[in-house]
Protein backbone atom coordinates (compact mmCIF):
# COMPACT_ATOMS: atom_id res chain seq x y z
CA UNK A 1 0.00 0.00 0.00
CA UNK A 2 2.30 2.76 -1.14
CA UNK A 3 1.45 6.35 -2.05
CA UNK A 4 -2.21 6.43 -1.13
CA UNK A 5 -3.67 9.83 -1.49
CA UNK A 6 -5.76 10.24 1.60
CA UNK A 7 -8.93 10.94 -0.24
CA UNK A 8 -12.15 10.01 1.48
CA UNK A 9 -13.73 6.91 -0.02
CA UNK A 10 -17.44 6.36 0.35
CA UNK A 11 -17.59 2.65 1.20
CA UNK A 12 -21.34 2.42 1.51
CA UNK A 13 -23.12 -0.07 -0.68
CA UNK A 14 -26.35 -2.02 -0.88
CA UNK A 15 -27.58 -5.51 -1.53
CA UNK A 16 -30.89 -4.57 -3.09
CA UNK A 17 -32.99 -3.03 -0.34
CA UNK A 18 -30.37 -3.81 2.26
CA UNK A 19 -28.25 -0.70 2.77
CA UNK A 20 -24.80 -1.33 4.13
CA UNK A 21 -22.48 1.35 5.48
CA UNK A 22 -19.49 -0.82 4.64
CA UNK A 23 -18.85 -3.55 2.06
CA UNK A 24 -17.17 -6.39 3.97
CA UNK A 25 -19.24 -9.07 5.69
CA UNK A 26 -18.31 -12.33 7.32
CA UNK A 27 -19.01 -15.59 5.49
CA UNK A 28 -21.46 -17.96 7.08
CA UNK A 29 -19.81 -20.60 9.23
CA UNK A 30 -16.53 -18.71 9.50
CA UNK A 31 -17.43 -16.20 12.18
CA UNK A 32 -19.72 -18.10 14.52
CA UNK A 33 -22.31 -15.56 15.68
CA UNK A 34 -19.85 -12.70 15.84
CA UNK A 35 -19.04 -12.79 19.51
CA UNK A 36 -15.57 -14.33 19.42
CA UNK A 37 -14.39 -11.98 16.67
CA UNK A 38 -15.39 -8.93 18.65
CA UNK A 39 -12.19 -9.45 20.65
CA UNK A 40 -10.13 -8.85 17.52
CA UNK A 41 -11.98 -6.00 15.82
CA UNK A 42 -15.11 -3.95 16.29
CA UNK A 43 -17.72 -6.09 14.59
CA UNK A 44 -20.05 -3.11 14.14
CA UNK A 45 -17.49 -1.46 11.86
CA UNK A 46 -17.90 -3.92 9.01
CA UNK A 47 -20.89 -4.37 6.72
CA UNK A 48 -22.60 -7.15 8.63
CA UNK A 49 -22.15 -10.44 10.40
CA UNK A 50 -23.55 -13.36 8.45
CA UNK A 51 -24.24 -16.06 11.02
CA UNK A 52 -23.36 -19.72 10.85
CA UNK A 53 -26.30 -21.41 9.12
CA UNK A 54 -29.13 -21.94 11.60
CA UNK A 55 -31.40 -24.97 11.51
CA UNK A 56 -34.67 -25.64 13.32
CA UNK A 57 -33.33 -28.17 15.79
CA UNK A 58 -30.05 -28.52 17.65
CA UNK A 59 -27.57 -30.46 15.58
CA UNK A 60 -24.34 -32.14 16.55
CA UNK A 61 -22.62 -31.88 13.20
CA UNK A 62 -20.30 -34.53 11.88
CA UNK A 63 -17.63 -36.69 13.40
CA UNK A 64 -14.07 -35.44 13.58
CA UNK A 65 -11.67 -34.92 11.89
CA UNK A 66 -13.70 -32.14 10.37
CA UNK A 67 -11.00 -30.39 8.42
CA UNK A 68 -7.84 -30.81 6.44
CA UNK A 69 -5.51 -28.10 5.26
CA UNK A 70 -5.00 -28.10 1.49
CA UNK A 71 -2.75 -25.97 -0.74
CA UNK A 72 -3.93 -22.39 -0.21
CA UNK A 73 -7.17 -23.69 1.21
CA UNK A 74 -8.87 -26.19 3.43
CA UNK A 75 -11.72 -28.63 3.29
CA UNK A 76 -14.27 -28.91 6.03
CA UNK A 77 -17.14 -31.15 6.94
CA UNK A 78 -18.67 -29.47 9.95
CA UNK A 79 -22.15 -30.67 9.10
CA UNK A 80 -24.01 -27.56 10.26
CA UNK A 81 -23.46 -27.94 13.99
CA UNK A 82 -25.62 -25.59 16.00
CA UNK A 83 -28.08 -25.33 18.85
CA UNK A 84 -31.13 -24.62 16.74
CA UNK A 85 -33.21 -21.54 16.02
CA UNK A 86 -34.64 -21.04 19.51
CA UNK A 87 -31.30 -20.98 21.21
CA UNK A 88 -29.95 -18.77 18.43
CA UNK A 89 -32.68 -16.17 18.88
CA UNK A 90 -32.49 -16.23 22.64
CA UNK A 91 -28.73 -16.08 23.06
CA UNK A 92 -26.82 -15.23 19.92
CA UNK A 93 -29.14 -12.89 18.08
CA UNK A 94 -29.92 -11.12 21.34
CA UNK A 95 -26.23 -10.52 21.89
CA UNK A 96 -25.70 -9.29 18.33
CA UNK A 97 -28.63 -6.91 18.63
CA UNK A 98 -27.40 -5.55 21.92
CA UNK A 99 -23.94 -5.17 20.45
CA UNK A 100 -25.39 -3.15 17.58
CA UNK A 101 -24.06 -5.36 14.80
CA UNK A 102 -25.98 -5.68 11.57
CA UNK A 103 -26.93 -9.33 11.23
CA UNK A 104 -27.79 -11.44 8.25
CA UNK A 105 -29.15 -14.78 9.41
CA UNK A 106 -28.13 -17.76 7.35
CA UNK A 107 -30.77 -20.47 7.40
CA UNK A 108 -30.57 -24.11 6.35
CA UNK A 109 -33.25 -26.75 6.33
CA UNK A 110 -33.39 -30.47 5.80
CA UNK A 111 -36.32 -30.00 3.47
CA UNK A 112 -38.29 -27.25 1.79
CA UNK A 113 -40.82 -26.90 4.55
CA UNK A 114 -38.17 -26.49 7.20
CA UNK A 115 -36.75 -23.50 5.32
CA UNK A 116 -40.23 -22.00 5.44
CA UNK A 117 -40.55 -22.68 9.16
CA UNK A 118 -37.23 -20.98 9.83
CA UNK A 119 -38.30 -17.92 7.87
CA UNK A 120 -41.61 -17.83 9.71
CA UNK A 121 -39.94 -18.17 13.09
CA UNK A 122 -37.74 -15.17 12.31
CA UNK A 123 -40.73 -13.05 11.28
CA UNK A 124 -40.91 -9.93 13.35
CA UNK A 125 -37.80 -10.88 15.30
CA UNK A 126 -35.79 -7.77 15.89
CA UNK A 127 -32.22 -7.46 14.68
CA UNK A 128 -32.52 -9.48 11.48
CA UNK A 129 -31.32 -7.35 8.59
CA UNK A 130 -31.80 -10.07 6.01
CA UNK A 131 -31.68 -13.79 5.37
CA UNK A 132 -29.09 -15.77 3.50
CA UNK A 133 -30.67 -18.98 2.30
CA UNK A 134 -28.06 -21.72 2.42
CA UNK A 135 -29.29 -24.02 -0.30
CA UNK A 136 -25.81 -25.10 -1.15
CA UNK A 137 -24.08 -26.76 1.76
CA UNK A 138 -22.23 -29.76 0.30
CA UNK A 139 -21.78 -31.42 3.64
CA UNK A 140 -25.18 -32.96 3.83
CA UNK A 141 -24.70 -36.69 3.53
CA UNK A 142 -27.09 -37.27 0.68
CA UNK A 143 -25.90 -35.34 -2.33
CA UNK A 144 -29.50 -35.32 -3.43
CA UNK A 145 -30.09 -32.85 -0.64
CA UNK A 146 -28.02 -30.15 -2.26
CA UNK A 147 -30.89 -27.94 -3.33
CA UNK A 148 -28.55 -25.54 -5.12
CA UNK A 149 -27.59 -28.14 -7.70
CA UNK A 150 -31.02 -28.22 -9.23
CA UNK A 151 -32.84 -25.13 -10.52
CA UNK A 152 -36.22 -26.56 -9.55
CA UNK A 153 -35.51 -27.40 -5.95
CA UNK A 154 -33.43 -24.25 -5.49
CA UNK A 155 -36.42 -22.20 -6.62
CA UNK A 156 -38.80 -24.16 -4.43
CA UNK A 157 -36.81 -23.35 -1.31
CA UNK A 158 -36.58 -19.68 -2.16
CA UNK A 159 -40.30 -19.44 -2.94
CA UNK A 160 -41.13 -21.12 0.37
CA UNK A 161 -38.88 -18.73 2.29
CA UNK A 162 -40.35 -15.74 0.47
CA UNK A 163 -43.84 -16.92 1.38
CA UNK A 164 -43.10 -17.16 5.08
CA UNK A 165 -40.50 -14.47 5.67
CA UNK A 166 -41.21 -11.02 7.02
CA UNK A 167 -42.56 -9.15 3.97
CA UNK A 168 -39.86 -6.99 2.50
CA UNK A 169 -37.02 -8.72 4.33
CA UNK A 170 -34.00 -8.93 1.99
CA UNK A 171 -33.37 -12.51 0.89
CA UNK A 172 -30.10 -13.72 -0.56
CA UNK A 173 -29.87 -17.19 -2.08
CA UNK A 174 -26.47 -18.77 -1.60
CA UNK A 175 -25.28 -20.64 -4.65
CA UNK A 176 -23.00 -23.61 -5.04
CA UNK A 177 -20.30 -23.62 -7.72
CA UNK A 178 -20.68 -27.38 -8.16
CA UNK A 179 -23.05 -27.01 -11.09
CA UNK A 180 -22.80 -27.12 -14.85
CA UNK A 181 -24.53 -23.78 -15.32
CA UNK A 182 -24.60 -21.40 -12.38
CA UNK A 183 -26.40 -18.75 -14.41
CA UNK A 184 -29.36 -21.08 -14.79
CA UNK A 185 -29.57 -21.54 -11.02
CA UNK A 186 -29.21 -17.80 -10.48
CA UNK A 187 -32.12 -17.13 -12.84
CA UNK A 188 -34.34 -19.65 -11.12
CA UNK A 189 -33.81 -18.37 -7.58
CA UNK A 190 -34.28 -14.77 -8.65
CA UNK A 191 -37.47 -15.69 -10.44
CA UNK A 192 -38.58 -17.45 -7.25
CA UNK A 193 -38.25 -14.26 -5.25
CA UNK A 194 -34.68 -13.86 -4.04
CA UNK A 195 -33.52 -10.25 -3.88
CA UNK A 196 -29.92 -11.14 -4.44
CA UNK A 197 -27.32 -13.85 -4.52
CA UNK A 198 -24.54 -14.91 -2.20
CA UNK A 199 -21.83 -16.79 -4.03
CA UNK A 200 -19.97 -18.98 -3.86
CA UNK A 201 -20.24 -21.73 -1.31
CA UNK A 202 -17.46 -24.30 -1.06
CA UNK A 203 -16.50 -26.77 -3.81
CA UNK A 204 -16.98 -30.43 -3.06
CA UNK A 205 -13.58 -31.96 -2.36
CA UNK A 206 -11.78 -34.80 -0.66
CA UNK A 207 -8.42 -35.42 0.95
CA UNK A 208 -7.03 -38.91 1.44
CA UNK A 209 -5.11 -39.36 4.68
CA UNK A 210 -1.51 -40.26 3.82
CA UNK A 211 -1.26 -42.65 6.75
CA UNK A 212 -4.56 -44.55 6.68
CA UNK A 213 -5.05 -44.12 2.90
CA UNK A 214 -8.73 -43.51 3.64
CA UNK A 215 -10.71 -40.26 3.28
CA UNK A 216 -9.30 -37.98 5.95
CA UNK A 217 -12.52 -36.30 7.04
CA UNK A 218 -15.15 -37.91 9.20
CA UNK A 219 -17.66 -36.92 6.53
CA UNK A 220 -15.41 -38.31 3.73
CA UNK A 221 -16.05 -35.43 1.34
CA UNK A 222 -15.91 -31.81 2.48
CA UNK A 223 -16.16 -28.28 1.20
CA UNK A 224 -13.08 -26.67 -0.32
CA UNK A 225 -12.58 -23.01 0.56
CA UNK A 226 -9.86 -20.39 0.72
CA UNK A 227 -7.71 -18.55 -1.84
CA UNK A 228 -7.35 -21.76 -3.86
CA UNK A 229 -10.93 -21.35 -5.12
CA UNK A 230 -10.86 -17.61 -5.73
CA UNK A 231 -10.58 -17.80 -9.54
CA UNK A 232 -13.64 -20.07 -9.64
CA UNK A 233 -15.59 -17.64 -7.45
CA UNK A 234 -14.60 -14.57 -9.47
CA UNK A 235 -15.58 -16.35 -12.66
CA UNK A 236 -18.97 -17.30 -11.20
CA UNK A 237 -19.67 -13.73 -10.05
CA UNK A 238 -18.60 -12.38 -13.44
CA UNK A 239 -20.82 -14.81 -15.36
CA UNK A 240 -23.86 -14.16 -13.22
CA UNK A 241 -23.40 -10.39 -13.24
CA UNK A 242 -23.07 -10.49 -17.03
CA UNK A 243 -26.37 -12.37 -17.29
CA UNK A 244 -28.25 -10.56 -14.50
CA UNK A 245 -26.65 -7.13 -14.18
CA UNK A 246 -29.47 -5.78 -11.95
CA UNK A 247 -29.20 -8.53 -9.35
CA UNK A 248 -27.07 -7.65 -6.31
CA UNK A 249 -24.34 -10.16 -5.50
CA UNK A 250 -22.59 -10.80 -2.21
CA UNK A 251 -19.30 -12.17 -3.50
CA UNK A 252 -17.03 -14.57 -1.66
CA UNK A 253 -14.53 -17.36 -2.07
CA UNK A 254 -10.92 -17.00 -1.05
CA UNK A 255 -10.84 -13.30 -0.23
CA UNK A 256 -7.73 -12.62 1.83
CA UNK A 257 -6.81 -9.02 0.99
CA UNK A 258 -8.35 -5.76 -0.10
CA UNK A 259 -7.06 -6.45 -3.56
CA UNK A 260 -8.93 -9.75 -3.64
CA UNK A 261 -12.10 -7.96 -2.53
CA UNK A 262 -11.62 -5.47 -5.34
CA UNK A 263 -11.53 -8.34 -7.86
CA UNK A 264 -15.01 -9.40 -6.74
CA UNK A 265 -16.40 -5.87 -6.88
CA UNK A 266 -14.98 -5.38 -10.36
CA UNK A 267 -16.50 -8.71 -11.43
CA UNK A 268 -19.90 -7.50 -10.27
CA UNK A 269 -20.31 -8.06 -6.54
CA UNK A 270 -21.86 -5.23 -4.51
CA UNK A 271 -20.37 -6.45 -1.25
CA UNK A 272 -18.10 -9.31 -0.18
CA UNK A 273 -17.86 -11.90 2.56
CA UNK A 274 -14.65 -13.07 4.16
CA UNK A 275 -14.53 -16.69 5.30
CA UNK A 276 -11.51 -18.93 5.56
CA UNK A 277 -9.14 -15.96 5.78
CA UNK A 278 -10.55 -15.36 9.27
CA UNK A 279 -8.93 -18.60 10.41
CA UNK A 280 -5.60 -17.24 9.23
CA UNK A 281 -6.23 -13.81 10.71
CA UNK A 282 -9.16 -13.19 13.07
CA UNK A 283 -9.09 -9.49 12.27
CA UNK A 284 -9.22 -10.13 8.52
CA UNK A 285 -12.68 -8.64 7.82
CA UNK A 286 -11.79 -5.18 9.10
CA UNK A 287 -8.22 -5.36 7.78
CA UNK A 288 -9.54 -6.26 4.33
CA UNK A 289 -12.12 -3.48 4.49
CA UNK A 290 -9.35 -0.99 5.27
CA UNK A 291 -7.12 -2.37 2.55
CA UNK A 292 -10.00 -2.13 0.10
CA UNK A 293 -10.48 1.53 0.99
CA UNK A 294 -6.79 2.12 0.30
CA UNK A 295 -6.90 0.20 -2.98
CA UNK A 296 -9.83 2.32 -4.12
CA UNK A 297 -8.18 5.55 -2.98
CA UNK A 298 -4.91 4.71 -4.70
CA UNK A 299 -6.83 4.24 -7.96
CA UNK A 300 -8.64 7.51 -7.54
CA UNK A 301 -12.08 6.12 -6.77
CA UNK A 302 -14.03 8.13 -4.24
CA UNK A 303 -17.05 5.83 -4.15
CA UNK A 304 -17.03 2.08 -3.89
CA UNK A 305 -20.17 1.93 -6.00
CA UNK A 306 -18.25 3.19 -9.02
CA UNK A 307 -16.17 0.07 -9.20
CA UNK A 308 -18.98 -2.49 -9.05
CA UNK A 309 -19.01 -4.47 -12.29
CA UNK A 310 -16.30 -2.34 -13.88
CA UNK A 311 -14.59 -5.41 -15.36
CA UNK A 312 -17.52 -5.71 -17.76
CA UNK A 313 -16.86 -2.33 -19.34
CA UNK A 314 -14.85 -2.47 -22.54
Amino acid sequence: MTNIQHVQVDLSTALGKLQLPAPVLTASGCAGYGRELDSYFDITSIGAIVTKSIMMEPRSGRATPRMAETPSGMINSIGLQGSGIESFIEHDLAWLRKRGARTIVSIAGNNVLEFGRLARRLRGVEGVAGLEINISCPNVANRGLVFACNPGSAAEVVAEVRKHAQPGLPLLAKLSPDVTDIVEIAHSVIDAGADGLAMINTLLGMVIDPVTLRPQLGGRTGGLSGPAIRPVAVRAVYQVHAALPQVPILGMGGIRSGRDALEFLAAGASAVSVGTAIFNDPSAPLRIQNELRDELASRGFSRLRDVIGIAHQA
Binding site: P58, R66, S72, M74, S83, G226, F279, N280, D281, P282
Partner: protein, 283 residues
Amino acid sequence: MTQFRARLAGNRAVGEYRHLVFVTSADIGMVKPGHFAAVAVGGPDSAMLLRRAFSIHRVSSKANVGTTIELIVSAKGAGTRWLTSQHEGVLVDMVAPLGKPFQLPKERVPCVLVAGGYGAAPMITLAEELRSRGCRVDVVLGASTESKLYGVLDLKRISDSIVITTDDGSLGVRGRVSDVLPEVMQRADSAVVYACGPMGMLQAVSLVAASTGAIAQCAVEESMACGVGVCMTCVLPVIGDDGRTRMVRACTEGPVFRGDRVRWDAIGSVPADAVGAPPAGGH
Protein backbone atom coordinates in the same frame (compact mmCIF):
# COMPACT_ATOMS: atom_id res chain seq x y z
CA MET B 1 -6.87 -13.16 23.74
CA THR B 2 -4.80 -10.68 21.83
CA GLN B 3 -3.51 -10.80 18.28
CA PHE B 4 0.00 -9.47 18.01
CA ARG B 5 3.30 -9.70 16.19
CA ALA B 6 6.14 -11.37 17.97
CA ARG B 7 9.80 -11.50 17.08
CA LEU B 8 11.65 -14.80 17.28
CA ALA B 9 14.45 -14.19 19.76
CA GLY B 10 15.66 -17.72 20.37
CA ASN B 11 15.48 -21.10 18.68
CA ARG B 12 17.43 -23.99 20.13
CA ALA B 13 17.15 -27.75 20.12
CA VAL B 14 16.01 -29.56 23.26
CA GLY B 15 16.08 -33.26 22.52
CA GLU B 16 13.91 -33.73 19.46
CA TYR B 17 12.07 -30.47 20.07
CA ARG B 18 12.86 -26.82 19.50
CA HIS B 19 12.58 -24.33 22.29
CA LEU B 20 11.32 -21.12 20.68
CA VAL B 21 11.43 -17.77 22.42
CA PHE B 22 9.30 -14.92 21.10
CA VAL B 23 9.28 -11.32 22.21
CA THR B 24 6.48 -8.83 21.78
CA SER B 25 5.73 -5.35 22.98
CA ALA B 26 2.02 -6.12 23.05
CA ASP B 27 0.20 -6.43 26.34
CA ILE B 28 -1.14 -9.96 26.16
CA GLY B 29 -2.81 -10.02 29.56
CA MET B 30 -2.73 -12.79 32.14
CA VAL B 31 -1.39 -16.14 30.96
CA LYS B 32 -1.97 -19.30 33.00
CA PRO B 33 -0.69 -22.86 32.66
CA GLY B 34 -2.77 -24.65 30.04
CA HIS B 35 -3.36 -21.59 27.88
CA PHE B 36 -2.23 -21.94 24.30
CA ALA B 37 -1.08 -19.74 21.43
CA ALA B 38 -2.15 -19.93 17.77
CA VAL B 39 0.64 -19.04 15.40
CA ALA B 40 0.37 -18.20 11.70
CA VAL B 41 3.00 -20.05 9.69
CA GLY B 42 4.75 -19.81 6.34
CA GLY B 43 4.78 -16.08 5.68
CA PRO B 44 2.52 -14.01 3.42
CA ASP B 45 2.86 -16.12 0.26
CA SER B 46 2.55 -19.46 1.96
CA ALA B 47 0.12 -22.14 0.83
CA MET B 48 -0.57 -22.83 4.53
CA LEU B 49 -3.49 -20.80 5.80
CA LEU B 50 -4.28 -22.31 9.15
CA ARG B 51 -2.73 -21.39 12.45
CA ARG B 52 -0.84 -23.92 14.53
CA ALA B 53 -1.66 -24.30 18.22
CA PHE B 54 0.99 -24.66 20.92
CA SER B 55 0.79 -24.80 24.68
CA ILE B 56 2.42 -21.77 26.21
CA HIS B 57 5.48 -23.04 28.00
CA ARG B 58 6.32 -19.87 29.89
CA VAL B 59 5.62 -16.14 29.77
CA SER B 60 7.55 -13.37 31.42
CA SER B 61 7.60 -9.60 31.16
CA LYS B 62 10.53 -7.30 31.51
CA ALA B 63 10.55 -3.55 31.23
CA ASN B 64 12.43 -2.46 28.07
CA VAL B 65 12.34 -5.98 26.63
CA GLY B 66 8.62 -6.59 26.53
CA THR B 67 6.82 -9.85 26.97
CA THR B 68 8.63 -13.09 26.32
CA ILE B 69 6.63 -16.14 25.22
CA GLU B 70 8.23 -19.56 25.11
CA LEU B 71 6.98 -22.56 23.16
CA ILE B 72 8.23 -26.12 22.84
CA VAL B 73 7.63 -27.26 19.29
CA SER B 74 7.88 -30.63 17.65
CA ALA B 75 8.59 -30.42 13.92
CA LYS B 76 5.89 -32.74 12.69
CA GLY B 77 4.39 -31.45 9.45
CA ALA B 78 5.00 -28.58 7.07
CA GLY B 79 3.91 -25.77 9.38
CA THR B 80 5.94 -26.81 12.41
CA ARG B 81 8.90 -27.53 10.13
CA TRP B 82 8.67 -23.98 8.86
CA LEU B 83 8.33 -22.52 12.34
CA THR B 84 11.22 -24.45 13.84
CA SER B 85 13.53 -23.53 10.95
CA GLN B 86 13.07 -19.77 11.26
CA HIS B 87 15.95 -17.57 12.26
CA GLU B 88 16.03 -15.06 15.04
CA GLY B 89 14.48 -11.77 14.06
CA VAL B 90 11.61 -13.22 12.06
CA LEU B 91 8.20 -11.77 12.93
CA VAL B 92 5.24 -14.07 13.38
CA ASP B 93 1.59 -13.33 13.94
CA MET B 94 0.32 -14.87 17.16
CA VAL B 95 -2.95 -15.00 19.04
CA ALA B 96 -2.68 -15.67 22.77
CA PRO B 97 -3.57 -16.57 25.40
CA LEU B 98 -6.31 -18.88 24.17
CA GLY B 99 -8.50 -21.49 25.79
CA LYS B 100 -9.37 -22.38 29.35
CA PRO B 101 -6.31 -23.11 31.50
CA PHE B 102 -5.87 -25.80 34.12
CA GLN B 103 -8.07 -25.22 37.17
CA LEU B 104 -6.06 -24.91 40.31
CA PRO B 105 -7.20 -26.49 43.58
CA LYS B 106 -8.48 -24.13 46.24
CA GLU B 107 -6.95 -26.28 48.93
CA ARG B 108 -3.43 -27.62 49.54
CA VAL B 109 -4.07 -31.05 48.05
CA PRO B 110 -1.46 -33.40 46.63
CA CYS B 111 -1.34 -33.15 42.84
CA VAL B 112 0.21 -35.36 40.23
CA LEU B 113 1.30 -34.05 36.82
CA VAL B 114 1.33 -36.48 33.95
CA ALA B 115 2.76 -35.55 30.58
CA GLY B 116 3.60 -37.25 27.33
CA GLY B 117 6.34 -35.82 25.13
CA TYR B 118 5.94 -32.08 24.51
CA GLY B 119 2.84 -32.32 26.70
CA ALA B 120 5.29 -31.41 29.45
CA ALA B 121 5.56 -27.89 27.99
CA PRO B 122 2.89 -26.33 30.24
CA MET B 123 3.74 -28.52 33.25
CA ILE B 124 6.71 -26.63 34.59
CA THR B 125 4.86 -23.41 35.25
CA LEU B 126 1.94 -25.48 36.50
CA ALA B 127 4.21 -27.23 38.99
CA GLU B 128 5.62 -23.89 40.11
CA GLU B 129 2.14 -22.51 40.56
CA LEU B 130 0.99 -25.54 42.57
CA ARG B 131 4.10 -25.52 44.73
CA SER B 132 3.65 -21.82 45.43
CA ARG B 133 0.19 -22.70 46.71
CA GLY B 134 1.72 -25.29 48.97
CA CYS B 135 0.57 -28.36 47.10
CA ARG B 136 2.60 -31.51 46.97
CA VAL B 137 3.61 -32.14 43.34
CA ASP B 138 4.47 -35.54 41.92
CA VAL B 139 5.35 -35.97 38.29
CA VAL B 140 5.08 -38.77 35.79
CA LEU B 141 6.75 -38.05 32.47
CA GLY B 142 6.57 -40.34 29.49
CA ALA B 143 7.59 -40.52 25.87
CA SER B 144 8.37 -43.10 23.25
CA THR B 145 12.09 -42.58 23.75
CA GLU B 146 14.50 -40.48 25.78
CA SER B 147 15.00 -37.72 23.21
CA LYS B 148 11.25 -37.10 23.19
CA LEU B 149 11.07 -36.43 26.89
CA TYR B 150 10.82 -32.80 27.77
CA GLY B 151 11.45 -30.96 31.02
CA VAL B 152 13.02 -33.79 33.02
CA LEU B 153 15.55 -31.64 34.88
CA ASP B 154 13.21 -28.73 35.54
CA LEU B 155 10.51 -31.01 36.84
CA LYS B 156 12.95 -33.00 38.94
CA ARG B 157 14.03 -29.78 40.59
CA ILE B 158 10.58 -28.55 41.36
CA SER B 159 8.63 -31.70 42.19
CA ASP B 160 8.44 -33.94 45.23
CA SER B 161 8.95 -37.02 43.12
CA ILE B 162 9.32 -37.88 39.49
CA VAL B 163 8.90 -41.12 37.58
CA ILE B 164 9.92 -41.41 33.97
CA THR B 165 8.69 -43.94 31.46
CA THR B 166 9.76 -44.60 27.89
CA ASP B 167 8.24 -47.07 25.46
CA ASP B 168 11.69 -48.34 24.55
CA GLY B 169 13.16 -48.19 28.04
CA SER B 170 15.86 -45.75 26.96
CA LEU B 171 15.28 -43.80 30.18
CA GLY B 172 13.33 -44.72 33.32
CA VAL B 173 10.75 -47.45 33.39
CA ARG B 174 9.98 -49.24 30.15
CA GLY B 175 6.30 -48.74 29.56
CA ARG B 176 3.60 -46.10 29.65
CA VAL B 177 2.74 -43.43 32.15
CA SER B 178 -0.50 -45.20 33.00
CA ASP B 179 1.48 -48.26 34.09
CA VAL B 180 3.17 -46.35 36.91
CA LEU B 181 0.51 -43.77 37.66
CA PRO B 182 -1.63 -45.84 40.07
CA GLU B 183 1.33 -46.51 42.31
CA VAL B 184 2.45 -42.87 42.28
CA MET B 185 -1.04 -41.71 43.12
CA GLN B 186 -1.42 -44.22 45.90
CA ARG B 187 1.92 -43.28 47.41
CA ALA B 188 1.17 -39.54 47.24
CA ASP B 189 -2.54 -39.79 47.91
CA SER B 190 -3.10 -37.50 44.91
CA ALA B 191 -6.37 -35.60 44.79
CA VAL B 192 -5.91 -34.02 41.36
CA VAL B 193 -4.24 -35.34 38.23
CA TYR B 194 -3.12 -32.81 35.62
CA ALA B 195 -2.45 -34.40 32.27
CA CYS B 196 -1.30 -33.25 28.85
CA GLY B 197 -0.42 -35.56 26.00
CA PRO B 198 -1.96 -37.77 23.33
CA MET B 199 -5.64 -38.70 23.56
CA GLY B 200 -4.90 -42.33 24.42
CA MET B 201 -2.81 -41.26 27.37
CA LEU B 202 -5.46 -38.84 28.58
CA GLN B 203 -8.07 -41.55 28.44
CA ALA B 204 -5.90 -43.95 30.42
CA VAL B 205 -5.11 -41.23 32.97
CA SER B 206 -8.79 -40.40 33.33
CA LEU B 207 -9.57 -44.04 34.03
CA VAL B 208 -6.90 -44.26 36.71
CA ALA B 209 -8.17 -41.04 38.30
CA ALA B 210 -11.74 -42.25 38.22
CA SER B 211 -10.76 -45.47 39.98
CA THR B 212 -9.13 -43.54 42.82
CA GLY B 213 -11.70 -40.79 43.03
CA ALA B 214 -9.22 -38.12 42.00
CA ILE B 215 -10.14 -35.28 39.70
CA ALA B 216 -8.47 -35.39 36.28
CA GLN B 217 -7.70 -32.16 34.42
CA CYS B 218 -6.81 -33.14 30.87
CA ALA B 219 -5.49 -30.81 28.16
CA VAL B 220 -6.58 -32.32 24.86
CA GLU B 221 -5.06 -31.89 21.43
CA GLU B 222 -7.75 -31.68 18.79
CA SER B 223 -7.05 -30.64 15.21
CA MET B 224 -7.81 -26.91 15.04
CA ALA B 225 -8.38 -24.63 12.08
CA CYS B 226 -8.92 -21.26 13.78
CA GLY B 227 -8.06 -21.67 17.47
CA VAL B 228 -10.43 -18.84 18.38
CA GLY B 229 -13.82 -20.52 18.42
CA VAL B 230 -15.37 -19.69 15.06
CA CYS B 231 -14.83 -22.72 12.84
CA MET B 232 -16.20 -25.69 14.84
CA THR B 233 -13.52 -28.10 13.66
CA CYS B 234 -12.01 -28.84 17.06
CA VAL B 235 -14.98 -30.47 18.76
CA LEU B 236 -15.14 -33.53 20.97
CA PRO B 237 -18.00 -35.16 22.87
CA VAL B 238 -18.17 -33.81 26.40
CA ILE B 239 -20.81 -34.38 29.07
CA GLY B 240 -22.27 -31.16 30.39
CA ASP B 241 -23.53 -30.24 33.85
CA ASP B 242 -26.97 -31.41 32.77
CA GLY B 243 -25.59 -34.87 32.05
CA ARG B 244 -26.05 -34.52 28.31
CA THR B 245 -23.28 -34.99 25.77
CA ARG B 246 -22.51 -32.17 23.37
CA MET B 247 -19.85 -31.66 20.71
CA VAL B 248 -17.89 -28.83 22.31
CA ARG B 249 -14.99 -26.78 21.04
CA ALA B 250 -11.59 -27.69 22.40
CA CYS B 251 -10.25 -24.23 21.61
CA THR B 252 -12.68 -22.20 23.70
CA GLU B 253 -14.28 -24.61 26.16
CA GLY B 254 -10.98 -26.52 26.42
CA PRO B 255 -8.28 -27.46 25.83
CA VAL B 256 -8.49 -28.47 29.50
CA PHE B 257 -11.46 -30.66 30.36
CA ARG B 258 -12.32 -32.74 33.37
CA GLY B 259 -11.35 -36.29 32.48
CA ASP B 260 -14.67 -37.75 33.62
CA ARG B 261 -16.57 -35.39 31.35
CA VAL B 262 -14.92 -36.37 28.09
CA ARG B 263 -16.40 -39.31 26.17
CA TRP B 264 -12.97 -40.66 25.30
CA ASP B 265 -14.25 -43.77 23.54
CA ALA B 266 -16.42 -41.67 21.29
CA ILE B 267 -13.74 -39.26 20.08
CA GLY B 268 -13.78 -39.35 16.30
CA SER B 269 -17.50 -40.07 16.26
CA VAL B 270 -20.73 -38.45 17.37
CA PRO B 271 -22.31 -40.54 20.13
CA ALA B 272 -25.88 -41.46 19.33
CA ASP B 273 -27.08 -39.83 22.55
CA ALA B 274 -25.36 -36.50 21.88
CA VAL B 275 -27.55 -33.42 21.61
CA GLY B 276 -28.57 -33.08 17.96
CA ALA B 277 -26.96 -36.37 16.95
CA PRO B 278 -27.90 -37.45 13.46
CA PRO B 279 -30.55 -40.05 12.92
CA ALA B 280 -29.08 -43.36 11.73
CA GLY B 281 -27.38 -42.62 8.42
CA GLY B 282 -25.90 -39.28 9.39
CA HIS B 283 -26.60 -35.69 8.52
